[in-house]
């Protein structure tokens, strides 16, 4: 079993228009037996990173250590890594069973053990009925399960999974994620899980790395990333529905520093500690972030401050209600649990905790913290 460590890793692609940087100065450590997920929008460099670890792509600059050994020049097979891809990469002239068995046969594993392993993995992923079908006869979700089965059936030191369940129906996804976690616990394999879906990332791993524009933005647990996003991108990317983002002016009103949102009557009062910091930085403007889940329809404590908005959309979602409110030109959303008789076009008072306000620098978009 092995740890994975990337030191100052770059990936360039040369094209007609010049050099494209797919991964920039990446430093990432995945401990032995750990599952880490790499989360980011499409084109952020997460798949390139995974392919470099697998040995399918060369590393343009920097060092890759697997189990503490410099592995830049090892072949994919020497790295003992199992891969599952989003686009399946199955052998279409073989049956499901043959696809799964192939790498085991190549390793000269005894046939009776292969049969046993295939039985286990196919039950786990719910594909035992289709083992004798050709892969061309399968739906996208089924093909993806076969691809995942082929990776899971091996006994590698590292699993690299690239959007392995994106085509599988929602109800089944969480079951499969639970199985992936179980494999990690039982066999102590190191895993890197690449996805654009934050729910999957949170469900499968404790530690999450967030990438954008070829760079690693932040690494941390779900709570760290959710409660203390390092910049505006992370704040906006993590959390559903997305964080409310408002541009505001920092002004003084009756000796109190307030954040006045542009083109509307919304005013937020930041914590005193933050006000000091704003003074130090000599800022006149800031970007304010507040999560829809951190705005409440009832006052929960007398420390809470309030704002007002007019209800534009009431979105009933079963377990929750998503409200879209408006003040002047600014729209913002509030997420609450089902109840309360909301009325469209009605003004309502809403409450927030000062320590839940996120402030970002208007130019650098980095978080302003004490």
């Amino acid at each position: 079993m092995a740890s994975v460590s990337l030191k100052n890793v770059y990936k360039y692609y040369e094209s007609k228009k010049g050099r494209v940087e797919a991964v920039k100065n990446l430093n990432l450590d995945i401990k032995d037996k750990e599952i880490m997920s790499l989360l980011g929008p499409s084109g952020c460099g997460k798949t390139s990173t995974l392919r470099m670890i697998a040995g399918i792509e060369d590393i343009s600059k920097g060092a890759l250590y697997i189990g503490g050994i410099l592995s830049n020049d090892l072949t994919p097979s020497e790295r003992n890594i199992a891969l599952a891809f989003e686009d399946y990469a199955l052998y279409f002239h073989l049956t499901v069973k043959e696809n799964i068995a192939l790498c085991l046969q190549a390793k000269k594993i005894k046939p009776n053990i292969i049969v046993k392993k295939i039985k286990e993995v196919s039950e786990m992923l719910g594909i035992e009925d289709i083992l004798d079908l050709k892969t061309t006869a399968l739906s996208g979700g089924q093909q993806q399960r076969v691809s995942l089965a082929r990776a899971l059936v091996r006994d590698p030191s590292i699993f690299l999974l690239d959007e392995p369940i994106s085509h599988i129906e929602t109800e089944k996804r969480y079951q499969i994620l639970a199985e992936i976690k179980k494999i990690n616990l039982e066999f102590g394999s190191t895993m890197l899980y690449v996805t654009h879906n934050q729910t999957e990332a949170v469900a499968v791993s404790k530690k999450i790395g967030i990438m954008n524009f070829a760079e690693l933005q932040q690494v941390g647990t779900r709570d760290e990333i959710y409660n203390n996003p390092i910049n505006l991108f992370v704040a906006n990317f993590v959390g559903e529905p997305p964080m409310n983002i408002m541009k505001c002016k920092i002004i003084s009103e009756e000796d109190v520093i307030i954040l006045k949102v542009e083109n509307c009557s919304l005013k937020f009062i930041p914590e005193v500690k933050i006000v000091k910091k704003l003074h130090e930085l000599n800022l006149k403007e800031a970007i304010l972030g507040l999560r829809p889940q951190n705005i409440y329809i009832r006052r929960l404590s007398n420390k809470q401050k309030s704002v007002k908005g007019i209800i534009e959309v009431i979105e009933f979602l079963g377990e929750d209600v998503n409200l879209v409110l408006r003040s002047g030109d600014q729209k913002f959303s509030v997420y609450c649990s089902t109840d309360a008789g909301f009325k469209k076009d009605k003004e309502m008072e809403l409450f927030y905790d000062q320590h839940r306000l996120h402030l970002f620098h208007p130019k650098t978009e980095k978080v302003i913290s004490i």
């Binding site: 929602t170 969480y174 990317f237 959309v313 979105e315």
Partner: protein, 371 residues
């Protein structure tokens, strides 16, 4: 905008019954959502309304006029496809303008009018800045808007949307779903919208239908479908985590329910008991949604059922976990993601009888609807 009525509509593909004897009405200007898993018959239904498939049996009326034999171009409907089906070699502008230039329109619009119409609509859809791009240069969410623009440009009487949000990622889905609320108020076209995502259905539908294997399970406003599902299938089709369903026997003397699988009893109020007495049976399938199960770390009158907590996970703003009561696994969720629960911790559960749904054990039908 027409009212759409169906009478005993059946559509078969050889032996397979895709739509089974559907009779119902979609109101004038209504936003009607069809919820069902893949293979339920959603797309076939839209094609039948559009005239792309001819039903074997039954009648379809627009505003009382039989349209079974009216050809697609004369029905004044617009259909968007799940995979967008944009012309890859046309710009966004030309993709959207195509319906206005088609032979059916007989040169009704001159160049300037087309320009104006596309301009106005694309502003509404926030794709005005993309008019000169090719589909390959657009994101999934943008392609969906272009497809929508092409459907809306000729101001159809009936808009048919086939899984419009199925292929955009979660973030954009959230955003577009909210935008549909604005769009539906602006256009007020009779719209039929299909989806396999229950959140879309209950969020957007003025009314919705749960379709299963070509047959109607239930039609109603979303709140009714969610809170008063007609049977266990509907109950399972809406809500996540899935509703808990378990068998219970009523002990009429002690006002209690007994669950054999979990080997526990809990009290129910005289009101509920009366209702069950009137219905006349003593065994039911009881349904309770995961967020209605109360729990505490100490036993009390309210929280009386002992359970063992599984691994808690934060998913979509909810803290979700299994609780094991003997052989019964219960899904439980709460909106407080910061709550600290430990794996294998002891918990005490409480079931508020107001949130219980009772189903007949033989028919799986909700007993309340039978009144």
């Amino acid at each position: 905008m027409p009212r759409i009525s169906l009478e005993n509509v059946t559509k078969k593909f050889k032996e397979l019954v895709a739509l089974n004897n559907l009779s119902f009405e979609i109101k004038d200007g209504e936003f009607f959502v069809i919820l069902g898993p893949s293979g339920a018959g959603k797309t076939t239904f839209l094609k039948v309304i559009a005239g792309l498939e001819i039903p074997e049996n039954g009648k379809i009326y627009f505003d009382g006029n039989l349209i079974n034999h009216v050809a697609t171009p004369n029905r004044d409907v617009a259909l968007t496809f799940e995979n967008y089906s944009l012309y890859p070699h046309f710009t966004v502008f030309n993709n959207i303008a195509t319906p206005l230039k088609s032979s059916v329109q007989k040169n009704k619009y001159n160049k300037k009018q087309i320009q104006e119409k596309v301009d106005k609509l694309t502003k509404m859809l926030s794709i005005n800045h993309l008019l000169n791009r090719l589909p390959s240069e657009l994101s999934g969410g943008q392609k969906q808007r272009v497809a929508l623009g092409r459907a809306l440009i000729k101001e159809p009487q009936v808009l048919l949307l086939d899984e419009p949000l199925a292929h955009v990622d979660a973030k954009i889905r959230n955003q577009l779903r909210t935008e549909f609320h604005f769009l539906k108020e602006k256009f007020r076209t009779t719209t039929i919208y299909t989806t396999h995502d229950y959140k879309e259905a209950i969020s957007l539908g003025d009314r919705m239908m749960v379709l299963n294997k070509g047959g109607i399970e239930q039609i109603g406003i979303p709140e009714i479908i969610y809170n008063f599902p007609k049977n266990t299938k509907v109950a399972l089709a809406v809500g996540w985590p899935e509703i808990n369903l378990f068998d219970c026997t009523v002990d009429f003397e002690n006002s209690q329910l007994y669950c054999p699988k979990g080997d526990f009893v809990f009290n129910i109020s005289s009101n509920v008991l009366k209702h069950l007495k009137i219905y006349g049976k003593s065994e039911y399938i009881v349904g309770i949604r995961p967020h209605y199960i109360g729990f505490s770390d100490k036993p009390s009158d309210t929280y009386s059922v002992k359970a063992i907590c599984g691994t808690p996970e934060v998913l979509d703003n909810q803290l979700v976990f299994f609780a094991k009561v003997k052989n019964l696994d219960l899904n439980i969720s709460t909106h407080d993601p910061d709550l600290s629960l430990k794996y294998e911790q002891e918990l005490w559960l409480g079931f508020d009888d107001q949130s219980l749904i009772f189903f007949d054990k033989e028919t799986n039908e909700n007993i309340k609807l039978k009144e």
